[in-house]
Symmetry: C2
């Protein structure tokens, strides 16, 4: 029962159940973004749908954001504490084609775009693929 985790959840108006604390802790221990399955594998006997719903709750409350990196499974990563999941918080994600890890490039915001007339910008998913420093 981690007091710190507890607070992080409460700050986002998420009732800190045991399950949620566990999932939060898994995410916070990782620098990379994790898939539902990867999170599931961190536990022995936790049901997939529970984690699924936990992640949904987290995402609805802006505690985490998701990335579709094109590998077929959506990845999840903690947001920064001041994140509101709005345009300013969008950033590039990097998928290493060797180790398969997906990194949040929080220092690289999605670039500004001049969309053609009458196209509106709401959101964006920008995934760069290549080799990460570890696999170089």
């Amino acid at each position: 029962m981690n007091k710190d985790t507890d607070n992080k959840l409460k700050l986002r108006n998420i009732k800190p159940t045991a399950m949620r604390q566990l999932v939060y802790d898994v995410l916070s221990k990782q620098k990379k973004a994790l898939s539902l399955i990867e999170i599931e594998q961190q536990f022995e006997n936790v049901d997939r749908s529970t984690i699924f719903r936990t992640l949904k709750t987290f995402q609805d409350n802006l505690l985490i954001h998701s990335v579709d990196d094109g590998t077929g499974s959506v990845k999840y990563a903690l947001c920064d504490e001041d994140c509101t999941c709005s345009l300013n918080d969008l950033h590039i994600h990097f998928l290493c084609t060797k180790c398969g890890q997906t990194h949040c490039m929080k220092s690289m915001p999605i670039p500004n775009l001049d969309l053609p007339k009458d196209f509106s910008f709401e959101n964006a998913n920008f995934v760069v693929k290549g080799t990460c420093p570890n696999c170089k």
Copy 2:
């Protein structure tokens, strides 16, 4: 038996079977990118796996490119005639959140990026979401 389609396929070293001509024609009639399922629905009695393999052949031979727009189904669109599916040919795709259509923004190349040291750039998928002119 369309002579023109026939040539387009041959130019890419694809044997122009009836099936392939049909799939090509469906793609060329559309401005937007189409999913496997959407293509399947254009026909009465064509097997999904055949279309799947047709698309694979097309993609292997650089006749089409695919986009993962995050909707859960990969979309396919014809490449330009001079496309080599290399970095220069990468462009932004736009997913309209109202009509669900995915457009190739061929006039909008993927912007240049300064990746942190030791990250290499191989490829990128940049999908912008918003409202398209039709749905405005």
